[in-house]
């Protein structure tokens, strides 16, 4: 079970995430996108889902990632990600509830380049009972 004290806490990634043209090209190729000037709209999941995994699996937080399924996903894109961006990621556990024995957790991740917020993304994850 998730430690209720972790709800509302924000975790700042220790590392930053440089975005390369080849990463954008590989992601775009999967969906058949030929416009490589900007990353596809869901590209930032590459970064945010790994962050969510790391923070929720932390023993202090205590979520059982092996039983996680993805419930909902939302992106707000203030400016598209482009090759050469070096993104910082901060993630906040915004909401937590238990529904019919299943834990439901919403994590918001903000991706910034310097002071500029590029993308906010919300992942709602369900831990099956």
């Amino acid at each position: 079970m998730l430690n209720p004290d972790s709800v509302g806490r924000t975790f700042h990634s220790a590392k930053s995430f440089p975005v390369t043209a080849s990463e954008i090209a590989a992601f775009a190729a999967v969906i058949g996108e030929e416009d490589l000037h900007v990353a596809p709209p869901t590209f930032s999941i590459r970064i945010s889902l790994e962050q969510s995994h790391d923070l929720l699996s932390d023993p202090q937080v205590g979520l059982d990632w092996s039983r996680v399924v993805h419930g909902d996903q939302k992106f707000e894109i203030y400016r598209p990600i482009v090759a050469g961006d070096v993104l910082a990621c901060s993630s906040t556990i915004e909401n937590y509830k238990v529904l019919a024995g299943n834990e439901v957790v919403t994590v918001r991740s903000d991706l910034r380049t310097g002071d500029q917020l590029a993308v906010s993304t919300w992942s709602t994850l369900v831990v099956r009972a």
Partner: protein
Amino acid sequence: MISVGDEIAPRIFWIDRDLLKKYADASGDQNPIHQDEAFAKSVGLPDVIAHGMLTMALAGKFVSDWAGGPAAVKEFSARFVKPVIVPAGRKVDLTVGATVAEVDGANIRLNITATSEGVKVLGMTKALVVKS
């Protein structure tokens, strides 16, 4: 002239095991339920399933193609209601369509549908685009 209620012609994307491997490598999501049939069945799934985020990425491609490119998408959300099941040696469809929900100048909100083999796989799927 784009009006509320306009329907955007649906399009089929084909998903097979090779695409799941490519998406796993491109996204970093190497969860074995998307690649290893024995593992998927051991955790109670009917077969290998597609990454929900792959289905969302393909729906995003549908939206951005209509809007004028990937930079046009400002908001995009989806609920993963059923998995896309991907048996070995087969291609399964992801059929994506949309309806115009709101028009405010160039800002257009879309309600998006996505099915596979006739089953709704994404729910509550919405996008805000700036159409060029």
